[in-house]
């Protein structure tokens, strides 16, 4: 059976070119980047170079780059770091209802610790309104965190516009760019952001490594205290192989971005068009401001996991809501925030395309899904077909 992977928003394979640049740092160049001798200096140089690469790709300075263990740590460091560092200035934080749990749960934890959190609603396409952000801003607002593009429905937020408003009001602005890094152009100046987090495994780099951009002048309490690494903002022996891999993967993604996005957009639209022909189906998220690889559809009367299992039996890997929370039985908080009912939200399917997907993959998926939907609907007590 051919296997078709259409869950690139969950994770991606590491590109062979990336593995190749990582390998020396497991073996001969294994030094601790903090050490003064040859092995240490060479590891340090590799870090410096990776840092320069990432900084340049973000339009940032090298000393504004912190390497982390991934997107979740990045969001936690950004939000808790600013919150603890500026708590005497204010204790109000603004975020949105469709954030990844790495942002939402962090904000809610801070709430337990005396911070005030405003969670902004979104419209039916998943957009946060810049005007709502402006209304929510208060003199004691220290941080606003709005994701760049949503991991479930692919809606791309007007980050630059929101950033300009936040700046005007003197708060800091973090964006979770885990889904856009390597896909969209990320320039921290143009985006008007003060903090930006990303994760290598979403763009064909290794798992367990990410980056937090922190604008010069923004203070952070470390999340991980200890050694003097990362200019004292993130302790721990640096994951040199992982960091070198992140930089390489980011570089490759950004080189190929424009052509690859055009290709993916075509496949995406073909998928969306095909799935829309299924009765009682609904495409979620914006059609115009959307990640080039994201398809999210609800099929009424059926439940997501049973659809995924059937797809898996046909060799198709997809997701229903966020992979991170698939241990939970709640339907996607993102779809609920967009106004879907529980019943319909339970029937969501996310297909996210990637480098390995072809037109014939799309056609195979378009052939299989209607059969599965039909089969499950026949079993469903809700369906009066």
């Amino acid at each position: 059976m051919t296997e078709i992977y259409m869950d690139h928003a969950a994770t991606t394979p590491v590109r062979p070119e990336v593995v190749e640049v990582m390998l020396p740092y497991f073996g001969t160049e294994f030094g601790n980047a903090s050490s003064v001798y040859g092995w240490g200096r060479r590891a340090h140089q590799a870090l410096d170079q990776a840092r320069d690469t990432v900084a340049e790709l973000l339009g940032a300075a090298s000393n504004e780059i912190i390497f982390t263990s991934g997107g979740s740590e990045g969001a936690n460091l950004a939000i808790k770091g600013v919150a603890w560092a500026y708590q005497t200035k204010g204790k109000h934080i603004i975020t949105s209802a469709i954030e990844h749990h790495a942002v939402l749960d962090t904000a809610l934890w801070l709430k337990k610790h005396g911070f005030e959190v405003t969670i902004l609603p979104v419209d039916e396409e998943g957009f946060v309104s810049p005007a709502e952000v402006e209304k929510a801003l208060r003199p004691d607002t220290i941080l606003v965190s709005i994701m760049h593009a949503n991991n479930e429905v692919g809606t791309i937020q007007p980050i630059a516009e929101i950033g300009a408003i936040v700046r005007k009001h003197g708060a800091f602005f973090h964006t979770d760019a885990v889904q856009t890094a390597g896909v969209l152009d990320l320039n921290v100046e143009e985006l008007n952001v003060d903090l930006l987090s990303l994760s290598a495994h979403k763009f064909y780099g290794p798992k367990g490594v990410g980056t937090l951009y922190v604008r010069k002048g923004v203070r952070l309490d470390p999340l991980i205290h200890g050694g003097a690494q990362e200019r004292r903002r993130r302790a721990g022996t640096e994951n040199v192989a992982g960091i070198v891999g992140l930089a390489k993967a980011f570089e490759l993604a950004r080189e190929e971005r424009v052509a690859e996005n055009a290709r993916l957009t075509k496949l995406r639209d073909r998928l969306i068009e095909g799935l829309q022909t299924i009765p009682s189906s609904k495409v979620n998220g914006s059609l115009s401001q959307r990640l080039p690889n994201n398809v999210n559809v609800c099929f009424q009367y059926i439940e997501g996991e049973s659809m995924l299992l059937n797809l898996d039996l046909r060799g198709i890997a997809a997701s229903s809501g966020s992979a991170c929370t698939s241990g939970s039985l709640d339907p996607s908080h993102v779809l609920l925030a967009m106004g879907l009912t529980h019943e319909i939200a339970h029937g969501s399917l996310r297909l996210t395309l990637g480098r390995d997907n072809t037109e014939s993959d799309v056609d195979f998926v378009l052939q299989e899904i209607p059969v599965i939907v039909e089969r499950l609907r026949k079993m469903s007590p809700l369906y009066q077909g």
């Binding site: 059926i302 997501g304 299992l309 241990g327 039985l329 019943e343 469903s380 007590p381 809700l382």
Partner: protein, 127 residues
Amino acid sequence: MYSDKVMDHFTNPRNVGEIADADGIGEVGNARCGDIMKLWIKVDGDVITDIKFKTFGCGAAIATSSVITEMAIGKSVTEAEQITNQQVAEELHGLPAVKMHCSNLAAEALAAAIEDYRKKAAADSAS
């Protein structure tokens, strides 16, 4: 994540459908939780002679519905009533922990169908 037996019942669910002239109908769960089970039973004497189900829910919900139809058929309603969710899970060679509570409603659906049957039977004999 699921046992082979769960996957077997999920892939080839037994007794899917409805019974037009059912003697008892049970429905449990709600769409909010993502699991709804509906069971139809036909009773002859005290014995369940036919049983059908429809389920909106995850793999575990479908498999538990399917397997309970096999477990109940041929049993007296009193015996069938005593089937527990735990027994259903065991019959399927176990379920993931996260699925034990929410998606394992089949025994309750069966109990509801039997209760419905009893009510109807009482109403019939009373009339």
